[in-house]
Symmetry: C2
Subunit: 537 residues, 2 copies
């Protein structure tokens, strides 16, 4: 037997680390992006869409996560003499290029939002893809911390606009200058202390996961992690560790101070103890402070910031940071953003090396099950901060800027987890084909439905097997199928199969109910539109 | 003097052939894409978003325009052993890969729409960019020409939905099988006639530009173009040229036949001459046929198709093509899509080599000025057709498919040319900063406006120079500026500058009017929202 010649066929596969999004996956994300854009626009930000491709030179070395230096870009070169080009890895590097290029034509400050895919040439993992969406808003060209405060307020509004309820999120604000002040006080500000600073920042960033003792160990001799590997510590002295830990726990300390003030154990010294006492008086039902999260941000931030001021006492940069945080807290308080939405929190570090001032992070505080079945807080969905040096590499001038980036896929996952997205597929009404010579009639029925705004289509597969037509309607999640044979056509009627009711009956109905077939109705063609409008309502 | 050390700075430039889109450029395109998606969805199509990156193997060699074989893709390889990857150059090649990959999970037929950027590695030119948007809808898995007819109807609905008025566009439908039949009759179907076929197809495609004599010359000995270059002809004999030219002019012939029938010079033989006569009776005002474009598609297509049937008389494939066109014409007529919207037109060729059946093209018929100041029809904005072989290379099976692609940028340009897009920039209300210590108050005013849905922002630049704040408001296209100094704050009022009226007065007002300063009003803070709502209405 002659060997059959084998044809080499291309693999029908998305490249590794890339995926396809179908139907509702696309439209749900779009609806969320539209809601975000609406808030950004309301705040005066203008849309910007730069190209997906940049020169590698323009992108620079600003890969955002210093923890993973191997993280890379997708880059290519036309030929040996040509310039290297690459896909953008975020929306901030292109903003820097755009602002530097068009700065003479753009208003100052320049407020822009951008949304779209970015690409990372990193090892893909479960749920980690090499193309994903970002959604950013940045204010370029102002040093005013009012810009930072505004972005925090906008972030709160945005989360609520997409469907995260108040109480299910908190925006934590810190300032890199405070952190730098603390490092200075702890004697870690010298050029020779870069290694120690790195370990300290990463340790603080992991407070949630490692707890106070874990962080303390990393600041000192080091610690063994769950897998048994030993992570080297920063090797700090006890006094140094003490400074940093006091700082990290400043927020908890503030809470304790407020609670004590409520029971009159201490005096706050700036008045208001009575008010705080009223808020913190234990609720007899819950045994939790009655004021709950509605404690005035004025008191809370005053306490936290007073405490931070003490810690950085001798550091100019640290005091500058505390002062900026104070301004931000005041601005937010004036607009009614209390600690139920936005809090000053010294444990926020943010990974990015380029932040120079205020940093902020939005966390979702409700519980979800993680991969291992453990109950955990959903965690971070957005973050940002001030990065005054990003444009400098193009122009030589320092242009202050601050901005936020929303992790679109994380936020979408959160909305799905909270059941805020209706996952019931709603397909089109299917006009079935009983008689293929009457295709024009079926198309006309369909055209009339569409004119009335009803999503509809004629079955366009092989109509021979009617069962296949209904299977198709089922697969599409169709709410109804329209059937018109020769007899019905002669009488000017159609049969309407209510597929939602039909599916329900198939699961629940008794034989009697089933026989009555309440899910199928004969409807005059002239009544079809109102009949379906009622069925779809 | 010591030579200053020169710092090498990256160029702040988008890569050659790429550009940035600002503000309304982004939101207008988005609004148009939303309107298109709404119609596609109404017709039962589901969204699909595949990744921008594909393996080069999966993309294959389907670059769409055979006229430009140098056209390429942006491609790269991680390292020497890795697979080549590339940016998609259209949305059809990814659809073929997606369908082949997921065919067991997708419904049959699979109706999907997709919109997004595609990338072409070709020489950029004026108005021609290397990244641009496409917006496609395809039905995969049905051989029924009802699918083709439906897409033509949907295309008409889409153009009207985005703002192209009926009468300003026409969708021309042809069938590659008819064309193949004509080539067969003209003796050009052999494998050895590929060169001739290519010249013939390209010549027909240029009918609009070259006219009948130009096309005839290209079919024969060739012709000198405007630049004096000589283009080789197909070298056909007179009989061959005659067959093809009869075909190309079949639509004009049909019009002539209908006009003659209207004046009773000839009999159509299928009844209806009276009706046609009524429609074509000259309108006394315009001296044009009174029926104009509303001539029943039934008569028109019957005449055109009868004529085409005569031309392809001996070719099986040709007759099949005529029969398919007849079905399409009937289906469209039944849904009320007359020749004022969709016509059978034998001169439509479409560049793509892979079309195998019906082809269609949407042309905008209104006049615009071209680059040279000449008045020309706007021309093609969308096109598509049946391409039954595209999935075969992955699976070995022929999967019939048909679809349309809208040239998003062209359509946007058309809407702009027709004035259907309001280009007046509408920026946010600007709350100015008179006293930088009162930033919290200004932010509060702003927060109240936003809560009422009024787009607003506080000026975040350096507030020292008040003129700069108003210049900023002007640059943003702000409708109003809010001013509150210490005096106004004490009285609980603000000054509102109506910047639209102000700009108008600056151009038109007399000195008297100017002195009255009607563009500035003092408004109680509590009345600010309704005052601005009225101003913005």
């Amino acid at each position: 037997m002659a060997k059959k010649e084998k044809i080499r066929r291309p693999k029908a596969e998305a490249p590794k680390g890339f995926r396809d999004y179908f139907g509702a996956e696309v439209t749900e994300r779009k609806a969320m992006l539209d809601a975000i854009a609406k808030v950004y626009h309301l705040y005066g930000f203008e849309a910007l869409e730069s190209s997906a491709v940049e020169t590698v030179e323009a992108l620079g070395k600003f890969l955002p996560d210093v923890d993973r230096p191997n993280e890379g870009v997708f880059a290519w070169q036309e030929d040996e003499d040509a310039e290297w080009m690459a896909l953008r890895y975020d929306l901030t590097a292109p903003l820097a290029r755009v602002y530097a290029q068009h700065r003479n034509d753009l208003p100052t400050p320049y407020r822009r939002y951008a949304m779209g895919p970015v690409w990372r040439n990193e090892k893909p993992g479960p749920g980690r893809f090499r193309q994903f969406y970002q959604c950013d808003a940045d204010t370029v060209g102002t040093a005013s911390v009012a810009a930072d405060a505004e972005i925090c307020a906008m972030l709160a509004d945005t989360l609520e606009a997409v469907g995260i309820a108040r109480g299910d999120y908190v925006i934590r604000v810190n300032n890199r200058k405070v952190l730098n002040g603390v490092l200075e006080v702890a004697g870690l500000s010298g050029d020779d202390k870069e290694r120690e600073r790195g370990i300290v920042l990463r340790a603080i960033d992991k407070l949630d996961r490692l707890g106070v003792e874990g962080v303390r160990a990393l600041l000192g001799a080091g610690r063994k992690d769950e897998s048994g590997d030993f992570a080297d510590g920063a090797g700090l002295k006890d006094e140094q560790i003490s400074v940093i830990m006091t700082f990290v726990q400043a927020n908890e300390t503030a809470t304790r101070i407020l609670e004590k003030a409520a029971t009159d154990e201490i005096s706050l010294g700036f008045g208001g103890s009575n008010q705080i006492r009223a808020m913190y008086a234990a609720d007899p039902q819950t045994q939790r402070p009655a004021g709950g999260d509605s404690v005035s941000s004025g008191y809370r931030s005053t306490v936290t910031l007073g405490h931070l001021g003490e810690i950085v006492g001798t550091s100019i940069i640290g005091l500058e940071g505390v002062s900026e945080l104070k301004q931000i807290a005041n601005l937010l308080e004036a607009q009614g953003y209390g600690p139920d939405r936005i809090v000053i929190d010294p444990s926020v570090v943010r990974g990015l090396g380029y932040y120079t001032g205020p940093v902020y992070e939005a966390e979702l505080t409700f519980d979800v099950q993680n991969d291992k079945g453990q109950t955990v807080q959903f965690g971070s969905v957005a973050g940002g901060g001030r990065y005054d040096d990003l444009v400098t590499r193009f122009t030589g001038q320092a242009v202050p800027a601050t901005g936020v980036s929303i992790g679109v896929d994380r936020l979408l996952a959160a909305l799905t987890a909270k059941g805020r997205i209706d996952r019931t597929p709603r397909g089109p009404v299917i006009v079935t084909v009983m008689d293929r010579d009457r295709m024009a009639d079926y198309q006309s029925i369909c055209a009339d439905l569409r004119k009335a705004g009803i999503r509809a289509e004629v079955y366009l597969g092989n109509p021979k097997n009617f069962g296949n037509q209904l299977k198709y309607a089922d697969k599409r999640g169709s709410p109804a199928a329209i059937i018109q044979g020769t007899d019905e056509a002669a009488r000017g009627v159609v049969q309407v199969k209510d597929l939602i009711l039909g599916a329900k009956l198939a699961q629940e109905a008794s034989l009697e109910e089933w026989k009555e077939n309440p899910s199928q109705s004969e409807v005059a063609l002239s009544d079809l539109v109102p009949f379906l409008q009622k069925l779809l309502a």
